[in-house]
Symmetry: D2
Subunit: 179 residues, 4 copies
């Protein structure tokens, strides 16, 4: 089984990335840093007569890449108690792909994948990050994607995540379970 | 008391906008459609030595406008069970403003405001929209902003919100309470 | 369609009861005050070899009554941010009924019902009561029961609920929708 | 620092108890099995003129015992997505103690304690148990008690918790952190 990681963070070597690297160490992974791509916000045209306008950015190329993999890891820092705007814009665009004749099988393909969430925050993420987990559950339920598990970690300054031994343990367990 | 509305939606006359218009009818309101402005995603430099880079976009001008008002209404469609990426990018940038010497009093000023959330969704928003409300509570708690109330509405196709008499009633009550 | 109301409150004329009475005014309703019955806490024997012990209390008689109705209203004050212990003990016992040869069709029968929740609390119930709503969603999902809606109200001292015009409006809408 | 454990489970050697025993192994702990005591449901008389009626059961004796300790562990199986009715009845009675002249300092004393929650469930507790964690946060916030952490475990049949290596790891970390 191959894995795609979607990074939603916006600084290099952030805590979420560090934790994710621990989780995927030694695995066959395609890493996608969303911040390095141009992903325009959705313009909601689900009910417009003319339908969605074709958007000229990097979004589709990322969809093409993740559809190759069986496992998707959504790796996002907890910004303001939910996923980063960078990651949110990416997911918002799924509404367009669901109506895109170029991807007639999008939902079905997503329904065959397993998803994991890795999220690190600085302000009591073990409690205040829970609505984010619930939202991912709703997102995956909608797509039919199997939500296999999540890792919450605590950290603020870069490197602090290395103090969160429980998150690190969860990362190592993830790795074992995939191998 | 004057009011600023921040619209996070991305289609004209969407359900969330319609419901919000009912709520603010006849009130003195400054309306800000976030989709009409360039708001770049945050690049998290809270712990970078050099600090945040000055960003050349419309974000600060919107902050300047909302700081004039006592009441803020966050009006967002529920996209994928949380606020739109457009609105999220706006809120993510608060982390920069909190460190911006140009806004030394940002948190304090926000702490003196009252906030409302208006959110409309199509997939059981009365239950699946609840994590979003909890996140706004955390956001406002962090800033010290008074979270005065929220209205959830149900609607998918444009205009459907007009069937949600309970949401409309809540909108009319909001209006009365402000007058 | 006939209705059973399960009251979880423990004082006469409490706010939750008052709000519920508004909702059911003029409807054909069987009212059950759980506090007036002896309902022992479950003793979990789902995996005990001998199975559950027959319990000598009023629980089964209440199950018999609610199974007669198409609509169930769970009316509970929000004690400590969730349903009352009185109501919780009643629901806990469903685990026994699910294994009870006397009720071979319990889950199936519950799956054909519509459920509503009415909950009143004194400490910001519109936000702090949301986990309770999510739990009821999980409970009804498990049983296959259709969770049709909920009303949250705010009130502390008896009678205060009458100030919550939005909750009262929701109660009157419920009534209309059933008639 | 000494510890009191409140067990809310209703079967001997249940999964929650097993996990809790791992967490407290070798520590100085007073264990209280709520099911072994008579704890009547609260009768809400917060606003009754005559005030609360003195209740003749074991509740106060348990309060007396937990007030001796600095750390409280709430160990409850997840029944129907929240704490057991047995534990809920115990917590509901705090409303009475808060008004009880015999315990004038109850809230203050509770505010000086550290609390942990250990909860095991069989139906996707890592997601469906999250509202329970949020409720405990609200409960502890109200009392001023420091919510230090929680362990969620998965298990249905007795002994299954021993397969949940992540929960076991968290239990061992708890133990280390207290020592």
């Amino acid at each position: 089984m191959t894995i795609a990681v979607l990074y939603g963070g916006t600084r290099p070597n952030g805590n979420t990335e560090t934790l994710t690297k621990k989780a995927i160490q030694g695995l066959d992974v395609e890493e996608i840093y969303l911040k390095d791509y141009l992903i325009k916000p959705i313009e909601d045209k689900r009910h417009a007569e003319e339908g969605f306008t074709k958007i000229d950015d990097d979004y589709n190329s990322i969809i093409d890449r993740i559809l190759q993999h069986e496992i998707l890891i959504f790796s996002t820092p907890i910004y303001w108690y939910t996923m980063s705007g960078t990651m949110k814009n990416f997911i918002d665009r799924w509404s367009q792909t669901l109506k895109d004749a170029q991807y007639p099988d999008f939902k079905n393909q997503m329904a065959q994948k397993k998803a994991y969430v890795i999220a690190v925050g600085g302000d009591n993420p073990y409690v205040k990050g829970l609505p984010l987990i619930q939202q991912f559950q709703h997102i995956f339920d909608f797509m039919g994607t199997n939500f296999e598990g999540y890792i919450i970690g605590e950290g603020n300054k870069p490197g602090e995540i290395l103090q969160d031994t429980q998150a690190l343990y969860a990362a190592s367990k993830f790795q074992e379970s995939i191998r």
